[in-house]
Structure formats: structure tokens, C-alpha cells
């Protein structure tokens, strides 16, 4: 029933030739989503990396109609496009693709409004845990302790002092027809959720964990690996919900310590044992929240 990677069309609707950094997860997200969504799709991107690496006039990587207006309004813009399309007697799929800054922070109002109105659109958040496009500033999504250019590791304050906001749960609380969290490290799960979003009517929210080698300061070859370790450590959970009710949670076969997730990322390089413990506490809390209990400790 669900799509396989080999079933995806060869044709790219988001084409090679864009200017994303090596190892960037965002084009992987976008390229594969578009293969599932198909040609009868209209895309909106607010201000984000995707807007910039997707093309500078007169070049563009998009093979579908594509609109940009501003930063904080993705929810409103996809609402406007969809209503017009409907009034003009068409049924194109309308998709907005925002970053975490555009979703967790400046865009949360328009997103919440569109979700509450149950607009017939798909909202995608590719979450790379900071304002990467403007030079790695903290966002509401940045995890505890991470170094960004606005949460630098100073003599007094070592990185971000707050935890990551639980945006997916905020969206689940909107009780929309469909919401899912995804990761590029789990392609089958990714495709199944994309397909499900495509085939559902009403407001759909897809939240994709999107490693950023430039901002996280890890080897570009490790992006997929970072996505996998995030899930295995409990720093990111793959689940989906319909009308607010969780219908599926992916539970990794093993739970790895947070230390294993952060060790190859420069943004956590300054971590003391105390900071590691604090982040571990966060991950454990999430794990318990999502899976009920922690796995029993086994001697190594």
C-alpha cells in the first residue's frame, strides 16, 4: 500500500542545481516530498534557506508553481492560494514549507490560525534547530546548551539556557486531521507519512527533523546518521496523530545515551558533564512521555 523508494518517479520537481550546503537535509526533504505530492502542487516558501538555495532570479529549482511573500505568514499564504484555487474550480495541492524559525517563532500565529480554520493544505516544517539562513541564530527549536551565534559559549553563559519548544505537540493540540513527525533517516516512514498527508483533506502538518552540518558543525557525511541518533536518543520522536489522537509511534530498538548523539556536533563541543546530564534528563523525560517508561539499564 505504502510507497517504496523505488516507486518514486525519476523526475525531480525540485531539481538538482540548487545551492544548498553539502550534507543539508532540507533538499532531501523537499525533493522527496515533491515526488510524493506530484506535479499538481503549488508551493509557498517563506524566508528560509530553501528560499535562497532554491534559486536566485533568473534561476529556479522549482518545476511547480512557487510563491514567496514574507517570513511570518506561511499559514496565511497557503490558505489564500488554496481558497483561490478552489474558487477558480481547480483542486491543486497547496503546500507551505517553512523552517523552524518560521514555524516555532515568527510564523506560529499564522500557522495556528490556518490550522484552527482547518484549511485544506499541507504545512511542512523542516526543523534544523536554529535560524540557519541568517547565520545560525537561536530559535525556539534550538536544544538546551547548543551554541549558536546568539547563544554563544561565553565565559558566563555556555550556549542556550532553555529547552527546545515542543512544537509538534502544539500542533497536535490543534486536533487537525493529520500531523506527523518525520526524519530523513527513516525514508520508508517518511514516504508513508508524506503519502498519508497528500491523501488526507483538511489541515495537515508535517514536521521533519532536518540536520544542518553548517549550523550544527558536523561532518556533512553524517547528516542521515545525526537524524538516526536523534531518534535513538529520544531527542526526536517519530509519531503521527489524527484529530489529536496519536495513531502511531515509532519506538527505536535501542536507546542510546544523549552523549552519543551530541559527540560529533560542534554546537555541543563545550558541554560539561553537568550539561550532558541536563540534556539527558530532557531526553529521558521525552522518552517517558512518548513511550511510557525508560528501558531497563543493562550493564555494558
Amino acid at each position: 500500500m505504502s510507497l517504496n523508494i523505488k516507486d518514486l518517479p525519476d523526475e525531480h520537481l525540485f531539481t538538482p542545481g540548487h545551492t544548498a550546503c553539502p550534507g543539508c537535509a532540507a533538499p532531501i526533504v523537499v525533493r522527496n516530498l515533491m515526488k510524493v505530492f506530484g506535479k499538481d502542487t503549488i508551493v509557498y516558501a517563506p524566508a528560509n534557506c530553501l528560499l535562497v538555495f532554491g534559486g536566485t532570479y533568473p534561476y529556479i529549482a522549482w518545476k511547480v508553481p512557487y510563491l514567496h511573500e514574507a517570513f511570518e505568514n506561511t499559514g496565511a499564504c497557503i490558505s489564500g492560494v488554496k481558497r483561490a484555487v478552489k474558487k477558480l474550480g481547480k483542486d491543486s495541492l497547496v503546500v507551505g514549507i517553512a523552517g523552524d524559525g518560521g514555524t516555532y517563532d515568527i510564523g506560529i500565529q499564522a500557522l495556528s490560525g490556518a490550522a484552527e480554520r482547518n484549511e485544506d493544505v499541507i504545512y511542512v516544517c523542516y526543523d534544523n534547530e536554529a535560524y540557519m539562513n541568517t547565520g545560525i541564530q537561536r530559535s525556539g527549536s534550538t536544544p538546551f546548551g547548543a551554541a549558536t551565534t546568539t547563544t554563544p559559549v561565553g565565559k558566563k553563559i555556555p550556549g542556550k539556557t532553555q529547552n527546545k519548544k515542543n512544537m509538534a505537540e502544539i500542533m497536535r493540540a490543534h486536533e487537525i486531521p493529520y500531523m506527523a513527525t518525520m526524519s530523513i533517516a527513516y525514508p520508508k516512514d517518511f514516504l508513508r507519512k508524506a503519502e498519508k498527508a497528500r491523501d488526507t483533506r483538511g489541515f495537515r502538518y508535517l514536521h521533519v527533523f532536518s540536520p544542518c552540518p553548517t549550523g550544527w558543525r558536523h561532518d556533512p557525511a553524517l547528516s542521515i546518521e545525526m537524524g538516526r541518533r536523534a531518534v535513538e536518543s529520544g531527542m526526536w520522536t517519530l509519531y503521527e496523530a489524527e484529530y489529536g489522537r496519536i495513531t502511531d509511534i515509532y519506538k527505536p530498538k535501542r536507546k542510546i545515551p544523549v552523549k552519543e548523539y551530541i559527540r560529533d556536533q560542534g554546537r555541543f563541543r563545550h558541554f560539561t558533564e553537568e550539561m550532558v546530564a541536563k540534556l539527558q534528563e530532557y531526553a529521558d523525560h521525552k522518552w517517558k512521555q512518548m513511550y511510557g517508561s525508560l528501558p531497563e539499564e543493562k550493564p555494558e
Partner: protein, 389 residues
Amino acid sequence: MVVTGDYSAAYGALICDVDVVAAYPITPQTFIVEDFSEFVADGLTDAEFVKVESEHSAMSACIAAQAAGARTFTATASQGLALMHEMLFVAAALHLPIVMPVVNRTLAAPIGIWCEYNDTMPERDTGWLQVYCETNQEVLDMVIQSYKIGEHRDVMLPVMPSMDAFILSHTVEPVHAPSTDEVADFLPRYQPQAILDTSNPMTIGSFAPPEYIQEIRYQSEVTMQKAREVIQQVNDDFAQTFGRDYHGLIEEYRTDDADVVLITMGTVTGTAREVVDDMRREGKKVGLVKLRFFRPFPLQELRRVAENVEAMGVYDRAMSFGSGGPAFIETRHALYGLDIPVVNFLAGLGGRDVVKEDVRLMFEKTLKAAKEGRAENETVWIGTRGVKP
């Protein structure tokens, strides 16, 4: 029908058969969204109404819908317009002929709900056409004309017809309402040249380097200049079809043999007409110019009037602090090199009434400036506690 200015605006959207409305309520624009909600609820229109969570989203959704090929409508006032500020530039630069009535209301602080032009004046550089209305009939007629002007192939710009808070928005006046069929003959279906359509994919609003942006700015100026002619054409067509003539960018009243002329905007114009008649009966040769369009600004038209008078007064309902009233600043720019005194009058800020005595004082000060060949004070605050006019 006998209706409020707000109803006139909503009714205008109805008979222009708009496709998509996205709006957020704000006093004193609320009746517009309420009235249109009733039209939708009663099945008088099958327009899509996006009841957004803010004005920023209202304008964002209108831009998106218009980019997808729909004729769109929204309305706002004051703080709401300020919240839209960012998006106004986008609508204009993307050449999307959205029509948005604005109810002129004072912009905080202090927070107030009555008439002042300090909401629309800061938006004069966004690339929107601006027209200030005097009556509820003019509000309705200018909604219709705004679509015709904005959607003209040589223009393709958004239009902001505005009306005075409460004085028009909440006051009923007799308004002749054309039928949807009559309007359909005058205003053909919207024929966009570039839209978001999956059968012909294109990008709208691309990231652009310096190699291209300056030309895009130049195009905005070219279309704004072309709008002058289109405004007159549409005015004349409208007058012929519906029998109401607003004379285009400005309307003159008893200016032919006038010694001095006062420039007014909005509802103060009605009061000023009476004052002109009173003073004419007293043998004083005064005339009036109703400044209708602020963008494009009637540079040639005002200059032509000024060439035959000895002094000009300019009424402003907003202040550009540290300079002067916006209408005054622009009028002086239009009159550059003409050696006549120009006096700026500030009155009615925050919604304070502007009465006949106030307008008479403006004329008398302008007459005095004409006689003396210079203005005693260039900026005169009328009816301000503790300030001698």
C-alpha cells in the same frame, strides 16, 4: 439604499463579484467584515471568505489568492494597516491589483478610534494607489473604480480607497447602488497575466539580486505614472455609465476666479464647500480643491490651479513630525518655483471635529497671506489647546 460607509465598501465588494476575501475586524472597519459575512451567510455571493487571525495574515492571504488568479478584497484601519505594512510592499511590487478600503483612524499612542490620517499617510510609499473619499456614495463608487483602475493592463497595482472613521464609516447616507449586472458591464472579469497554475508553472516573488531589483522599482514608478491617465479614463467612463463624476485626481470647486484656494481631503471637503459659499456671498473670492488621489499625487493638476491664485492653504489631518503635513509637503513640491505663499493647516487630529469656523479661519489666514505676499506662520495648528493659531 441608506447605508453606512462601511456597508458601502462591503456592498462594493459584493457587486464587484470578488472571488476571495481575507479580513480581520478592527474598529471602525468592523461593519465591513460583518456585512460581508452576512452576504456570504445569506448566499448572496459564493466568494471564499478567509477569516484570518490578523491583518498581516489578511494581506498575506489576499496576495496569495490574487497571485493564484483571484479577484480579492480586504479592509482595515489604523493599527491593522500598520500591521500590514510589510505586506503592502509585496502586493504592489508583485503588481497584484488588490482593493482594500481603509477606514482612517488615529494610530496609537494614545489609543483612540476616531479619524486621523496618520494611518494611511505612512503607507504612501508602498506603491499602492490612494484615494480619499468624501461621501458613502464615493466609497462605493471608488471600490468599483479601484478594481477597474488597478486591474488595467497598464497599471496592475493595488488600490486603497479610504474613508473617515465614524464620520463616514458609521453614518448612514443615501447611496445609489448599481446592480451586479450593471457593474459587470463596466468591470469585466479579472484577466491576470501571470498566475500560480500547475498547467503553466511559474515562480512569483523570487529572491532577486541587485542586477534586477532597480528595474523592478522603475517599473513600479512607470505603472504609477500611467495610472494618472487610467484614473481619468475610468472616472469618465464611470460618469458616462452611472452619471456620477468625481473629476479624477482632484475636484475643483469655485476655483475659476478665486484669489485663494484651500486644499482639503475627505469629509472636511463638505464643510469647506459651505464655507466657500458663505464667503463668496460676502464677496471673498475663495475656492476649494478636493485632493482625491494622494498616489499618484496630482502634481500638474495642483500646479495648474496654483498658477491662477495668489495663495494656497493646505489642510492636513496628519503630521509628519519635524517637517509638515503630508499634503502640504507634497503640494509645495508640486508648486516648486511658483512664487505664492502656501500655508499648512493642521486640524481634526485624533478625530476632533473640524467645523465651519475652523475652515473659515483657514481661508482667512490664506487670504491674509495672499494680501501680504507671505504667510505669517507656515504651519498653523487649528483648535489646539494652548496654541495660538
